[in-house]
Symmetry: C2
Subunit: 348 residues, 2 copies
DNA sequence: GTGAAAGCGCTAACAA
DNA sequence: TTGTTAGCGCTTTCAC
C-alpha cells in the first residue's frame, strides 16, 4: 500500500484491468462493467472489484478504451491566437463546459496561418477527436474542409459563418458595427475612419457594411473611410498613424478589432492627439482593462460567453447524433458607451 | 478519388493500415516501416505503399499507435486561469514549442482550485500523457503529488518552486519585488502598501520578502504594510479601497499580481485619486495595454517567454530519459519604469 | 528485406 | 448475472 513517490525508481508496472480482475477473482469484463455501470454486477463481486481497484490504485487506460469504443471524449479546439482576450475567453468557457461533460480539450493555435491551421487540424484528427471547435483563420477554411476528407462534428465560431456542412456561430457584426458607428454619429461625428485588419475577411466586410449603413442613414455615405491595417497591432498602429497625419484627419476612429484598437490608441499617442478631446475612439471587442484607466474605452463587445456556450451546445447535440441541418447562429453585440467617445467640438 | 464531403452520408469506413497493406500487396508491418522509417524497405514496395496511402487518404490512427508504443506525444498543460495574460502567454509559447517537436497539448484549467486541479490532472493521466507542465494553484500541490502515484515527467512553473521530485521554474520574485519597491523608494516614497492575493502562497511570500528587504535597506522597515486582497480583481479592489480611505493612506501601491493591479487602479478611481499625481502604482506582471493608455503603468515583468521555453526544454530533456537531478530555475524579472510611478510631493 | 503473429489494455458480442 | 472470446489499429518481436 506504500504509494510510490516520484523520484523513487518506479518498479511497479501500472496495473491493468487484468490485474484487478485477478485480484478480485472475476473476469476483466466484470471489472469493466462495475467501473462503467455497463451491466449490473452482484454486490459481492462488485465490492471485491472496488476493493481491488482501490488497493492497486487502478485507473483505466483511456487510450485502450478509446480505441475500442471508437470515441475519445476529446474535442479539438483551434483558435488563431490564444493571447487575444477574445479567444482566451472563448477557450476558457469551452474548457469549462467540456470539463462538466467529461470531455477533454486538445488545444491548437493556428497563428492566423491557414496552412498551420490545416496541419494542426490534421494531427488532431489523427488522434481521433470526437469533435472540433474552430475559430478559422480565414473564411474559405480550405484548411477545414480539405484534410482527410470527412471531419467529425465541427462547429465554426467567429469566422466562416454559414459555411456549408458546419454549425456556425458568430456575432452579429453588421449590427454591432452599425450601432457603434451610430453612436459616433449621434455624437456629431461625420468623419469616422474604420480600421480593419483585412477587408476581405467576412467579419470585417460585415463590420464595414454596418458602418456604411449607419453612415448612409445619416446621409454621410460619402465620408466613409476604411483603412486596412494589417494583422498585428504594429501594422494597425502604422496605418492609423498615416491616417491621422493626413490633412483632414477623421474626428473619430472606429477600430474593428482588438488589435486595431490597441494600434489606434498607440497611433494617437504617437501623433500627439488626446483621447477624447482631440479625437474619439470606439473599438470592437472588449477587455477588462478598458474600464480601468481613463478614458475608459468605449467598445462594442462580442458575446463571447454565449458564443462559447452555444458552440458547445451545438457540438454536444451533434455528438449525440443530432442530425438537424446546420445551425447558423448570430448573437448580439453589446454597446458599452464609456469615455473615449465624446461629442464633437462645434468649431469644426 | 472523390473525396467525401461533410454532409454526405459518410459511407466509406476510414482506412486502416490493413487496407493500405492489401492495396499495396505488402504486409502491414511494411506499411508501418515505410511510414515510420523504422526499417529499410525496398524501393518498389516503398512506392507501392506510398501510392496506396495517397489513394486511400490513409492516416495512421494515433490512438492505436500510442497504445502500442506506450507513448502519446501528448503533454498535459494545467494552468489556474487561461484568461490571465501571464498564463495565456505561457500556454501560447508552450503550444508553439510543442508543435515544433510534434507534440500535442492537452489543456486543463484549474480555476485556482486544488481539488479541480487534482481531478483534471487525474484525467490527463488516464490519457497516458507523456509529460506534464503545471502552474499549480497552490504550493503544496497535494493535487500534483497525490494522484495515481507516479507522475510522468513533470515541470512546475510559477508556483511550487523547489518541490521535491519536480523540475521547477519560477521568476525571481524576491528580486523582482525588491527592485520594484526600490524604484518607488528612489522616487521618495516611504509609505508603500503591497497588495497580495494570498500572503501564504510562496510567490507572494517572496514578493513580500523582496519588498521588505528594500524597505529595510531604506530604513523604512517599520512602514511596511501588506494588504491581503483575495483571489479576484473585485476583492483586491475592495481591499485597496479600504486601505486608501484610511487616514494616513499610502503614497504608493505595489500590486503584487495582475489582478491586484487591476483592482488597485479601480480602487483609486473609486476613491477619486489620480494616477500618478495623487498616488503612484507599480504592478507585478506586464500586459500590452499597460503601455497604451496614459499613464502608462510601471510594472515588474515576469519573463514569461523564457519560463515557457525553459519549461519545455526541461521537459524534453526528461522525456529523452535525462536523469539529472531536479532543476530549479529562477529567471529574472524586468523592471519597466513608465508613468504611473512618480516622485513624491515634498510637502508630505 | 519481408511477412506472420503476438499483443498494447480495453469493451462488446456471444455463450453459458 | 458472469465468463470467454474476439477484436479496436497499430508496432514489434521473431522467423524466414
Amino acid at each position: 500500500m506504500s504509494k510510490p513517490k516520484r523520484g523513487e525508481p518506479r518498479k511497479t508496472r501500472v496495473p491493468t484491468i487484468q490485474d484487478v480482475a485477478r485480484l478480485a477473482k472475476v473476469a476483466p469484463a466484470t471489472v469493466s462493467n462495475v467501473l462503467n455501470g455497463t451491466r449490473p454486477v452482484a454486490e459481492i463481486r462488485r465490492e471485491r472489484v472496488l476493493a481491488a481497484v482501490k488497493s492497486l490504485g487502478y485507473r483505466p487506460n483511456a487510450l485502450a478504451a478509446s480505441l475500442r469504443r471508437k470515441e475519445t471524449r476529446t474535442i479539438g479546439v483551434v483558435v488563431p491566437e490564444i493571447t487575444n482576450p477574445f479567444f482566451a475567453a472563448l477557450v476558457h468557457r469551452i474548457e469549462e463546459l467540456a470539463g462538466e461533460s467529461d470531455y477533454q480539450i486538445l488545444l491548437a493555435s493556428s497563428n492566423e496561418d491557414p496552412k498551420l491551421e490545416a496541419a494542426r487540424i490534421r494531427t488532431l484528427l489523427d488522434r481521433r477527436i470526437d469533435g472540433l471547435i474552430v475559430a478559422p483563420s480565414r473564411d474559405e477554411v480550405e484548411a477545414v474542409s480539405h484534410p482527410i476528407g470527412a471531419l467529425p462534428p465541427t462547429v465554426l465560431v467567429d469566422r466562416g459563418f454559414g459555411l456549408a456542412g458546419f454549425d456556425t456561430i458568430a456575432a452579429d457584426n453588421i449590427d454591432g458595427a452599425y450601432r457603434g458607428c451610430k453612436h459616433l454619429l449621434e455624437l456629431g461625428h461625420r468623419d469616422i475612419a474604420m480600421i480593419v485588419m483585412d477587408a476581405k475577411l467576412a467579419n470585417f466586410a460585415d463590420r464595414i457594411a454596418g458602418y456604411r449603413r449607419a453612415l448612409e442613414e445619416a446621409g454621410a455615405a460619402k465620408r466613409a473611410r476604411v483603412v486596412t491595417g494589417g494583422l498585428d497591432v504594429e501594422s494597425c498602429r502604422a496605418a492609423v498613424e498615416r491616417e491621422l497625419r493626413r490633412p483632414n484627419r477623421p474626428t473619430a476612429i472606429f477600430a474593428a478589432s482588438y488589435a486595431a484598437t490597441l494600434g489606434a490608441i498607440r497611433a494617437m499617442r504617437a501623433v500627439g492627439l488626446e483621447l477624447p478631446q482631440d479625437i474619439s475612439l470606439i473599438g470592437i471587442d472588449d477587455s477588462d482593462w478598458m474600464a480601468v484607466l481613463h478614458p475608459y474605452i468605449s467598445a462594442v463587445a462580442q458575446p463571447v460567453e454565449e458564443m462559447a456556450t452555444e458552440a458547445w451546445r451545438l457540438l454536444l447535440q451533434r455528438l449525440a447524433g443530432g442530425n438537424a441541418k446546420s445551425a447558423r447562429i448570430r448573437l448580439h453585440c453589446t454597446l458599452h458607451v464609456r469615455e473615449s467617445t465624446r461629442a464633437i467640438e462645434r468649431d469644426r
